[in-house]
Structure formats: C-alpha cells, structure tokens
C-alpha cells in the first residue's frame, strides 16, 4: 500500500528559496575574492626564507672580510717580544668595538610589484676583545612590502688564534761551499 508523504516531508522537498541561494552564492564569491586577495601575501610569505638567506649571506661576507683583514698583523706589531705577545693574544689591533652600516639585497622580481627592487638591510657588527669574538646582526624585513617589520639574523664567530707571528722574517746566510 503506498504511503503518503507527511506534511513535514513535503515541506522538506520544497528546496531552497531564492534568498538562501543568493546568500550562499554571495558567501562563495566572498570567499573566493578573499582567497585571491590573500595570494600576494601568501607568495610573499613563502619567500621570506629567500630574504633570510640573503641576510645570512651579508653576515657571512662581513665575517669573511673581517677574517681576511685580521689574517696578518702589521709588521710593527711583531717587532719585539712584548708587542708580539700582545698581538698574539687576540685580534684587537684589527677591529674597532662596534660599527653599523646599511646594506641591501637586490631582488630580481619585486614582491610589491613587477619591477626589480632593492630591499634594505641594517647591519650591526661588534668585536669583543675579551673573547676575541666577532658578531654580526643583520635586520631584514620578512615581508619586503612591509619594511617596518624586521627580523634578525645573528652570526658570531670566535676568531682563530693568530698563527706564526705574521710577516716575521728569519734571515740566514748561505755559506759558500768552498769555505765550508
């Protein structure tokens, strides 16, 4: 025997109203628009590592140049035993205690537009004579389109002890074999 649908079931089959449909579609469109609007930020966020790597390179380069500059003591620093001992105790003769400078990283395709751009970095370098340690702190914007936001990369290295007193010359006279 067929069963008649109840009133409630008939009401359930009535479907959505136009208003409901419009609201749903509007929500979907809104979500899509928001997703599209968030894309540039997502792309920029995914590239934060690139800027961090660039800041790390700036710090490593600063340390490498410092190592080169401090590789050999000036001749006058190794002239006498007392001065030589002082020189061999560290690298204070090659550094000042602190310095700051501006640097930049060149981005081939800008995140805030299509053109290439330079992203500014701030570099602070310190030398601690007591521990013979050089420290470089590079501040960079994780989001290059929001330059006010800064993150930092810090590299520190204890310089290797000086090797043989640099530029020391040992003189030797070659004896004439006929006179030996």
């Amino acid at each position: 025997m067929p069963i008649r649908p109840t009133v409630a079931e008939r009401d359930g089959e009535a479907g959505f109203g136009l208003l409901e449909l419009i609201v749903c579609a509007g929500l979907l469109v809104l979500g899509s628009v928001l997703a599209l609007a968030a894309l540039p930020a997502i792309v920029r966020g995914s590239q934060a590592g690139v800027l961090r790597d660039a800041a790390t390179d700036v710090a490593r380069n600063a340390i490498e140049r410092a190592r080169a500059a401090a590789a050999y003591a000036p001749p006058q620093r190794v002239a006498g035993p007392a001065m030589r001992a002082l020189t061999m105790a560290g690298h204070a003769w090659a550094f000042v205690p602190a310095a700051v400078n501006a640097a930049a990283v060149h981005v081939e395709r800008g995140w805030c537009g299509d053109a290439a751009t330079d992203v500014a970095l701030d570099v602070a370098t310190t030398y601690d004579a007591a521990s013979d340690t050089l420290q470089v702190v590079v501040a960079y914007p994780p989001d290059p389109c929001a330059a006010g936001t800064r993150a930092t990369v810090t590299l520190a290295t204890q310089l290797a002890p000086p090797a043989y007193a640099p530029q020391t010359t040992l003189d030797a006279t070659v004896a004439d074999p006929a006179e030996q």
Partner: protein, 363 residues
C-alpha cells in the same frame, strides 16, 4: 478506500532558474579563476624555490672550495669574469674554475690553470639560469673602505685601517698568461645575478700562507759561468754585473696536506699532520748596469717526499712548532730539500763557489 489527489509541486519559476544559472556561472567562473591563480602562484613559488636553492648550492660550493684552497683569484679572461681556485694536497696541485657561459654557471677542473674561453674545457653545469657573473678582487688593505655591492654604502667600519695588513706572495704557479698566481689574504667577491635574488659571496683562501718568510742571502763576486740548473745566471757573456749577487728566497709556505692519528699517553689519540705541501722558489736580484730579477720557481712538492721512509707514516710535527704555532726555522739546504730539489740547490752553490775561485771573476 481511495487515495487523495497528489499534493501539487510548484517547481521553480523561469526567473528563478535564470537567476540560479547566472549565479552558478558566476560562482563557477570565480572558482576557476581562484584555482588558476593558485596554480600559477604555486608554479611561481616552486620555480623561485628551485632557483634559490640552485644559487644557494652554488654559493656553498664556492665557499667550500675557498676553504680548501691555497689561492683564490680572478683569472685573465676575454669572455667574461671567472673565479679560480688552487688546491694543494698530498696528490699534488689541482685547479677548479667557475665561469658563466650562455647564461649558465659552469665548473671545470684540471691539473693546471684553465682559460675560461677555451671551448674544449670539460664543464659541468652548476646553475642553469643566471643573468650574470661578476668577480672583483680586493686587497685586504682596501677592506676598510669596502662598500656594500647593492646599496653602495661603506661597510668596513668594524675594521681599524691601521691594523689591516695585506700579504700577497707568489704561489709559484704561472697562470695562463704567464703571470704568477699569488696567494695571501686578498678577498675575491663573486656576484651571481640570478632569480630570485642577486647573491654576493666573499671568498678568502683557507690555506693561505702563514706569513713565515725565510730569506737566504748569498754573496758572489760575480755571475756564475757554468752550465747547470740555473742557466739564466750562468752565461759567461754576462760580464757587466755588479760585484755582488743577492740570492734571496721568496716565502716558502707549508700547508698541511694529509692527516693521521697519534696515540696519546692517556690512551687517546690526537690528530697530527702527516704530510705538507711545500711551495717556494728563489729570486736572483742582479744590480749593476743591467739590473735584472730572475726567479727560479720550483714545482710544489710534498714533504715527506714519495719514497722517503717517512712517507705514509706518522710524521713528527715538523715543520710546525705547536708551542707557538710557528714554522720551525730551517737551514737553506733543508728548505731546498723540502722543495724537492736539493741537488739543484747544491749545484747552484757549487757553481758560485767555482766562480769565486775563478780569477776572471775576481776570485
């Protein structure tokens, strides 16, 4: 008992169907655009990540090569900048060259210096797409005035100019143009212009000379005349020379080439150097009416030499005195032996002694 008539089902009106279709089309198109944009962004992110990773690897390779190098320099090139590394170990001397060709960073290796323009070089691709490669050399004394390559602002403020000393000594290997390759504390700055960022790498040779210099002085009454291992100063036609010849050795460098372990009293072990790469040579400076400087550059040798009872064994810490990290002072004959040519050195001295005895030259 009969059933009643079916309930009426109203369905959608035409305007509802049209509106719903329009909304569906709009939503579908918007969704498609979102998916397309996401896909494009994902591809761009992936491409940039790959490019960045390639450049990172290249920069790491350059730094690693510099760390083990005895010399890093910018070789002469008519087809763009290049950077070259000289390595010395117990196996001898080797060279690695990085250069750009057709927007690609390439690498080549050989037993001698290479010409970046040589089309016959056997190369490997390091980075597939770069916009350019530039190489700049900075003497250490120029580093306090160094400027950031992108911003152009000075970045050497941490350095005390009066405390910076540059050392540049002959590595006793000639480059492709015949000029001597030099080693010391020069900085070679390599800039890789690549997507997504331009990367600059500052390089310093890790195995640079200690700065130890031994100068040998020898005084002759005139120029030698005999044939021998130094023919450039043994020509009897040279009778216009001054009464002295300064026989000076250019710096000798000892670079650890092999390592081993030595037992310690406590039952442990310590790392010791078992072989050194030795480089050096002799410079002859002539005064008088025809001043001239000639250099006898000996090929790099390994001490202990092959065939020596010490070869392959644990060596004593010679020539380094670990008490003060100094190279131990060596006599000239021993230095010549370390350089692999004791016979040539002895012959040179003997020739000059012969000259002393020759009345033609005031003996």
């Amino acid at each position: 008992m009969s059933e009643g008539p079916p309930a009426p089902e109203a369905g959608f009106t035409l305007i509802e169907v049209v509106l719903a279709s329009a909304l569906f089309a709009f939503v579908a198109l918007t969704g498609f655009e979102v998916v397309r944009a996401l896909s494009a962004s994902t591809a761009l992110i992936a491409q940039r990540a790959r490019a960045a990773a390639q450049v990172r690897i290249a920069a790491g390779e350059l730094r690693s090569a510099a760390l083990s190098a005895s010399a890093v320099w910018k070789p002469p090139s008519a087809c763009g900048d290049a950077v070259e590394f000289l390595q010395r170990d117990a196996g001898g001397t080797s060279f690695t060259l990085y250069f750009a060709r057709a927007a690609t960073l390439l690498r080549a290796a050989a037993a001698g210096p290479m010409n970046p323009c040589d089309p016959a070089l056997a190369v490997q691709t390091v980075v597939g797409a770069i916009a350019g490669l530039s190489v700049t050399r900075f003497a250490a004394t120029a580093l306090p005035a160094h400027v950031d390559p992108v911003s152009g602002t000075p970045d050497g403020g941490i350095l005390a100019p009066a405390g910076v000393s540059a050392v540049s000594v002959d590595a006793h290997v000639a480059d492709i143009d015949g000029s001597p390759i030099r080693t010391g504390n020069d900085v070679i700055e390599v800039t890789l212009d690549a997507d997504p960022v331009r990367t600059t790498v500052d390089l310093l040779a890790g195995n640079r000379p200690s700065g130890y210099t031994q100068t040998l002085a020898y005084t002759c009454a005139g120029r030698c005349e005999a044939n021998g291992p130094f023919p450039e100063i043994r020509n009897a036609a040279f009778d216009d020379c001054a009464v002295t010849i300064d026989f000076a050795q250019s710096p000798v460098s000892y670079v650890p080439a092999a390592y081993g372990f030595a037992s310690t009293a406590g039952g442990g072990a310590r790392v010791v150097v078992t072989a050194y790469a030795v480089a050096g040579g002799y410079a002859f400076a002539f005064g008088g009416p025809a001043p001239l400087t000639l250099e006898r550059a000996w090929p790099p040798a390994v001490w202990p030499p092959a065939g020596s009872p010490l070869a392959g064994t644990i060596a004593d810490p010679y020539p380094v005195d670990y008490g003060n990290n100094a190279v131990r002072a060596r006599g000239p004959a021993q230095l010549a032996a370390d350089l692999g040519e004791p016979a040539a050195f002895a012959a040179a001295l003997q020739a000059c002694a012969d000259m002393h005895a020759d009345p033609t030259y005031g003996g």
